[in-house]
């Protein structure tokens, strides 16, 4: 009988090429034949590089990545799956339908023992979702109402995607492009969500709904590894902050969602309708009418951006500590999520100290403007000196944001800092097709320098 070691002797982190998305596989080695694998996110909203034709369909590509994950895990299966938040570029690989190449079936067959998601994904919390979404009263504010708002975002995304697919004449190309991208990211991914729930409910599996300071459920699966949940804060925790403020931002967030979704269920869809249904607009008022039409697209974009950001901020932030090394996986958490752990939480000072000597940092939100707090986090990473910090970035340029407004993803100034001050592994360097590589790998062994390489298909 082989006795499993009480702590890992090595760790390999794979960052798979999923275009604009995240897919990280952590493999902990506990001596010969004993490995525990944790999959953090599996999703993509695009693998088509600008100006190039994608070698595969997205479905085919995701099936290929699922196969690669299966190959790495082998008979060990998956110890755990982490879905940091609900965005398509993080979870659509868990779908079991043909749109995702049935890649979720492969993952399900690897029988994860823990399925870790943010508290906002708890299906039990959404039982009175419809009522709560449309009502912004303080008394009804609850986990259910927040969850319902996320569901409303999914419904809006569906309408927005349809609108952007057949844009009205007044909609500018820039607005259409961004609405389409955000719409696609926020689509419900029902198949993926159902599969995640089903995996957590399987016999021998546990579903964990995490918030700041809660147990991750991974400890018992990963002896010798400490896993801390740093985010997202739950409502009780954020309420503690709001006592000092006079207003509950959740109310407005729900109001936004309710407004865009609209009571009659048409909401965004109305925007693509033909003009009419009333008396003709007087000639002298048509100039303003046309301006209003254009303005509506911009306002819708503003609402969708806000809701999209709220979704990002439900991301689970995990800190792994293993043989004296620290690995930080923040999903797409942006500054609003980070601020609780770093500033407002009772243990914020201890967290800041804990994060100061992080060894491996998964770059937040594909390298966006606001997901790697510059002063509160990045500048505090002591291992940036002598470039001892390892960073892993999974992204694809040209998909999100605009260089003209300094919102492009990945943000060029962040890329410059990552390249100059850390050892960066970037999926942008992997390419696609025959000459492309499958994933970046980082191997950590106690007492040895980390090794990084790109693995072929």
């Amino acid at each position: 009988m082989v006795v499993m070691a009480t702590r890992p002797g090595a760790l390999e982190i794979r960052s798979f090429q999923v275009g604009f998305g995240d897919c990280f596989l952590l493999s902990f080695f506990y001596g010969t034949g004993n490995r525990r694998h944790v999959l953090i996110d599996f999703g993509s909203t695009g693998i088509t590089e600008r100006g190039k034709k994608a070698p595969d369909s997205l479905a085919k590509h995701m099936a290929k990545i699922a196969g690669a994950i299966k190959n790495v895990c082998g008979a060990d299966g998956l110890a755990a799956v982490v879905a940091t938040h609900r965005h398509a570029d993080h979870i659509n690989g868990f779908g079991t339908d043909s749109k995702s190449g049935k890649s979720g079936i492969v993952i399900r067959d690897l029988a994860p023992k823990v399925v870790l998601q943010p508290w906002t994904e708890d299906p039990g919390a959404a039982k009175d979702a419809t009522t709560a979404t449309r009502d912004s009263s303080r008394s009804l504010r609850s986990t259910a109402s927040v969850v319902a708002s996320l569901a409303a975002m999914n419904r809006i995304a569906e309408q927005v995607t349809k609108l952007a697919a057949r844009p009205p004449a007044w909609m500018s190309l820039a607005v259409q492009k961004e609405l389409m991208f955000l719409g696609m990211s926020n689509l419900a991914n029902r198949s993926a969500i159902d599969n995640l729930i089903a995996m957590g409910r399987r016999s021998g599996s546990t579903a964990v709904w995490a918030h700041h300071g809660s147990k991750s459920g991974l400890e018992r699966l990963l002896p010798g590894v400490t896993v801390r949940v740093l985010g997202p804060p739950n409502l009780k925790q954020t309420d503690a902050i709001r006592k000092m403020r006079s207003r509950d931002p959740d109310e407005f967030w729900q109001l936004l969602a309710g407004t865009a979704a609209a009571r009659d269920g048409r909401g965004v869809a109305d925007l693509s309708a033909a003009r009419g249904g009333g008396p003709p607009v007087p000639a002298g008022a048509r100039w303003f009418r046309d301006r209003l039409d254009r303005l509506t697209g911009e306002q819708l974009l503003e609402i969708v951006r806000t809701l999209d950001q709220q979704m990002n901020n439900t991301s689970v932030i995990l800190l792994f500590e293993v043989f004296g090394r620290k690995l930080l996986f923040p999903g797409d958490a942006q500054i609003e999520n980070w601020s609780y752990a770093l500033e407002d939480a009772p243990d914020a000072a201890a967290t800041r100290k804990l994060l100061a000597d992080v060894d491996v940092y998964k770059v937040g939100h594909h390298g966006s403007l606001n997901a790697t707090p510059r002063k509160a986090l990045w500048e505090k990473f002591s291992r940036r000196k002598n470039a001892e910090l390892h960073t892993m970035l999974s992204t694809m340029p040209g998909k999100h944001g605009h260089a003209t407004s300094n919102t492009e993803v990945p943000r060029r100034t962040l890329l410059t800092a990552l390249a100059a001050e850390s050892r960066l592994q970037n999926t942008m360097d992997l390419g696609f097709g025959a000459k492309g590589k499958l994933c970046n790998v980082l191997r950590l062994v106690p007492g040895q320098s980390p090794k990084a390489w790109a693995e072929p298909e």
């Binding site: 008022a285 009418r289 510059r374 002063k375 300094n406």
Partner: protein, 618 residues
């Protein structure tokens, strides 16, 4: 064959100076005996076409969310012809779009009239055309905003707990948005990022004029004070002396109204009244990170004004009547409150002319208010507004500018000005004549000769003092603008943030090698350095520096005040640092441009109580 006339045949019109209209006193949530509290207001009369369309406002009831036009509304020709449901505040008016149209039209017009009365002249909009466009049901959105690009106001609506909520039915929201449009007309550069106070002031003035406009309705003040009243005799309600202290008035009037205001609709802009009313004074409050956010910072300014309003009101009641008078008639208490609110709103509107056209600080605004009020209303004994304002602002750490005269007003201009080549009559209306005045007096006025100068407006005005005498003044604004290289900035002892310069060098290095060296300064002949202008000047690395001032001439053509900010002055270093820290500069094509403000975004951030961390971004 005779041609059909393209306009409707002229109908006989009552040539009366004002037209009375019913409006919602605050919003449909404020009710008395189950009926919406309404008020009757006097609107300047005009030939009003269906829409309604008047000479300053064009209302277009088009809903861009449903793409439906709700028709051109023909308003009742006179108050007596209004449906009784309007005048009695029937809950049915919430669904009556014709009433919505009247409500918005009347509130926009009385706000415009209030500004024109206070400033003593007609006020054009910030855009070239004459009519402000207004969409009372513009889109399904929990927002309302002024958009200079659209030349109009857009009021949204949304599904509330018990039915649709229309922002166009909220007195304070309509006046707030109209005030944005009017301030933009008077001080267009306040929309360009400069310092935390200036960004906050746009919101603060909107709130001040809106809230004081609500409180200037005696019907509404009597209504909110009613719970504190007792019946001394049938139909005679009184307020006990103990209910007239500042604290009691704050509780009864401010919080009383705040409690009744529609919770949902107040969410649209973040509960301005409730938040400002409960902001306790603190001299250090503006130094805290929370109050560096524009929407929160503005609340401090509003809190200081509301505090002065309550103190003046309390003083006025308690110092009237007999020394031992134990109660005061409710009607009189309400009337005094409404009068003080009206006087205070006028004071703040009038002060705009005395504010520098760029880089406004709260201290500048306070000094401008004290100066303009002293000019028109030298005797402050009735309401003691200046005394209360000074004390209240001091409690929030806001003092008149350090260079103010002994009476806390702007200091007079230098005495050695040259007028001998100036034509007095032309000076009242002609930009070229004012420019000549500046040209002849560059040194005593401390104008920078190496910056581009442009006179942007000359406005003669006649203000009426409470004593019935006229104060005739001419207000002229000018701007100075210059673009400098980092080396030139240094020579003028202006510090650009090192990180900004490094960024510019990094992003513009390649292009600059190919481009000719930038000139010492780029005069930007037409627009004088507007946002777009800065963005379209590829050879310019750093953002344009602005300066400029306002010249107040008296009726004899003498310069009474020169309120200005030096284009190369010490505020520029702090301004560049602020813009950089707050992420308000965009680096592109090797140059820096200003991030233009959008009021719709600001309102949304405010409603969400959003916090920004610009220093944490990339």
């Amino acid at each position: 064959m005779p041609t059909e006339p393209t306009t409707a045949a002229a109908a006989p019109v009552d040539r009366v100076p004002v037209r009375y209209m019913t409006i919602v006193a605050q919003d449909p949530s404020v009710r008395r005996d189950g009926r919406i509290l309404t008020a009757r207001v006097a609107v300047p009369a005009e030939d009003l076409r269906a829409g309604p369309v008047g000479y300053r406002v064009q209302l277009v009831d088009y809903d861009a969310s449903t793409r439906r036009f709700h028709g051109a509304h023909q308003l009742p020709a006179r108050y007596e012809e209004e449906p009784s449901a309007w005048r009695t505040g029937s809950p049915a008016i919430v669904g009556d779009f014709r009433f919505h149209a009247q409500n918005v039209y009347a509130l926009v017009m009385i706000t415009l009239a209030r500004f024109e009365f206070a400033l003593g002249r007609r006020i054009g909009w910030s855009f070239e055309t004459h009519q402000l466009k207004v969409a009372p049901h513009g889109m399904r959105d929990a927002n309302a905003f002024y958009s200079p690009v659209q030349e109009g106001l857009v009021f949204g609506y949304f599904d509330g707990r018990s039915g649709p909520v229309y922002t166009a039915l909220s007195h304070d929201i309509v006046v707030h948005e109209t005030t944005h449009a009017l301030l933009d007309a008077l001080r267009p550069r306040y929309m360009i990022p400069s310092n935390p106070d200036q960004a906050a002031f746009h919101e603060a003035l909107g709130d001040i004029v809106a809230l004081l406009s609500v409180f200037s309705l005696p019907e509404l003040v009597a209504h909110v004070m009613a719970p504190a009243a007792s019946a001394a005799a049938p139909a005679v309600k009184t307020i006990a002396r103990s209910q007239c202290t500042p604290e009691a008035l704050r509780q009864n009037a401010l919080f009383g109204l705040a409690a009744q205001m529609g919770q949902e609709v107040s969410g649209v802009r973040g509960e301005a009244l409730r938040k400002s009313a409960r902001l306790d004074p603190s001299r250090r409050i503006l130094d805290t990170p929370e109050f560096r956010e524009a929407h929160r910072r503005g609340e401090v300014f509003v809190a200081a004004v509301l505090r002065a309003f309550i103190e003046a009101w309390s003083d006025r009641i308690l110092s009237s009547g007999l020394n031992d008078q134990r109660a005061f008639p409710l009607a009189r208490v309400a009337e005094e409150g409404a009068d003080i609110a009206d006087a205070l709103a006028t004071l703040w509107i009038r002060s705009i002319d005395y504010m520098p056209p760029v880089h406004l600080t709260f201290s500048d605004a306070l000094t401008a208010a004290l100066t303009s009020d002293t000019r028109v209303r030298p005797d402050d004994s009735r309401f003691a507004l200046r005394r209360h304002l000074k004390r209240s602002f001091a409690q929030y750490g806001i003092a008149p500018v350090a260079t103010a005269a002994d009476n806390d007003c702007w200091s007079p201009p230098p005495a050695n000005l040259a007028f001998d080549r100036i034509r007095f009559e032309s000076l009242r209306t002609d930009k070229d004549e004012v420019f000549r005045f500046l040209w002849e007096n560059q040194l005593p006025l401390k104008l920078r000769t190496d910056a581009f100068t442009r006179v942007s407006s000359v406005r003669p005005c006649v203000r009426v003092g409470p004593d019935g005498f006229f104060v005739r003044e001419t207000v002229a604004e000018y701007y100075q603008v210059a673009r400098l290289t980092p080396a030139e900035l240094k020579a003028k002892q202006i510090v650009a943030p090192p990180a900004l310069v490094a960024h510019l060098v990094q992003s513009g290095a390649t292009r600059r090698r190919a481009a000719p060296a930038p000139a010492a300064f780029d005069p930007a002949p037409e627009s004088g350095g507007l946002v777009a202008d800065a963005a379209e000047a590829p050879e310019s690395l750093l953002p344009a520096l602005y300066g400029g001032g306002v010249l107040i001439f008296d009726e004899y053509g003498r310069l009474r005040f020169h309120v200005y900010n030096d284009v190369f002055g010490r505020r520029q270093s702090a301004r560049l640092a602020y813009l950089w820290q707050e992420g308000l500069l965009r680096i592109r094509n090797g140059g820096a441009a200003y991030a233009a403000a959008r009021l719709s975004t600001l309102h949304r951030l405010r409603a969400m109580d959003a916090r920004k961390w610009p220093s944490e971004g990339w």
